[in-house]
Amino acid sequence: MRQIVVYPASDCRIELYPNVLVLRLSHLSSKDCRYSSRWHATSFSSGNGITLERQKPVSIIRYQPYSQSELSTAFDRLATLREEMDRFFDSPFGSFLRSPGSLRSWSPPLDVYQDKDNFTVVVELPGLKRENIDISLRDDSLTVSGERKAEENRGEQGFSAERFYGSFQRTVKLPTLVDANHAKASYQDGILKVVLPKAESAKPKQIAVSVS
């Protein structure tokens, strides 16, 4: 049984009807409100948060005061958030993400690939400067961290933020040891790619069978 708690922010109202959870966001929405169509509310304590338990499907309607000329974009966002929720709880590497505070923090998506010589870790980090990305390798654990500062003077006539700001950290434990001295990292179009050669001792080896 998995639970998350949704905290209403000052510009977000939560309305609960049987089987339908409605989150009303003002145009200056923050990312404190999260929802997913697979969650159904088990309890609602006023003033603090709603406890949602993962069970049977529930329909979620998101009300947006600003108009979007294409309905499909609203459903795309729903699908994206639903996937984020699934990813959040299902990921084998993600058990350390269960603390409630991490719902509001930036967790850039990452992939890990391997071929016989290397591991490749790909992280989506748009809008960062190279000097703000920190990559460290310890034994078999790779940590990518950094910070993206929000701009000052955010528009005196209004600001609507969807992107994450602040600091992030992702750690990946690799299945085998890697050679830190020959690791290479590149950052292009907002995608960080780290290539980690496997340590010699970890590469698969053929063992010859001798006939005696």
Partner: protein
């Protein structure tokens, strides 16, 4: 799992069958000043060649096509959704569509929409 799940970037090109392009909605920060409205859209993996910004019938259409990533090997663990990006905004008539400018850097598309002179705040002098 490695056999069943193809490298997701390869799904961007599916030879041999009718392709239906998949677009995700990028996250966008919208900032409004007295001079202009600035949109910053996150489109990682999209380079300048893949950006398409059009204004049509009072709508601003942002499209970003990404090239598949050049990665060798099989996936071990996947979180990314390497889709193309598309988002449409309705433009307020006060936006001067001739002066819209856009640039992309490190996976962030910045579109600047200048407001027409008549809607900028004007001080009225006292007689």
């Amino acid at each position: 799992m490695n056999d069943v799940v193809p490298n997701p970037d390869q799904r961007l090109q599916t030879p041999g069958r009718a392709t239906r392009e998949v677009y995700a909605t990028p996250m966008v920060d919208v900032e409004s000043t007295s001079e202009s409205v600035v949109l910053r859209a996150e489109v990682p993996g999209v380079s300048k060649a893949g950006i398409d910004v059009t204004v049509e019938n009072g709508n601003l259409i942002l499209v970003g096509h990404r090239q598949p990533l050049d990665v060798s090997g099989d996936p071990v663990y996947l979180e990314r959704r390497p889709t193309h990006y598309r988002r449409v905004y309705e433009l307020d008539p006060s936006i001067d569509t001739d002066k819209i400018s856009a640039r992309v850097e490190d996976g962030v598309l910045t579109v600047t929409l200048p407001k027409a002179e008549s809607v900028k705040p004007r001080k009225i002098a006292l007689e």
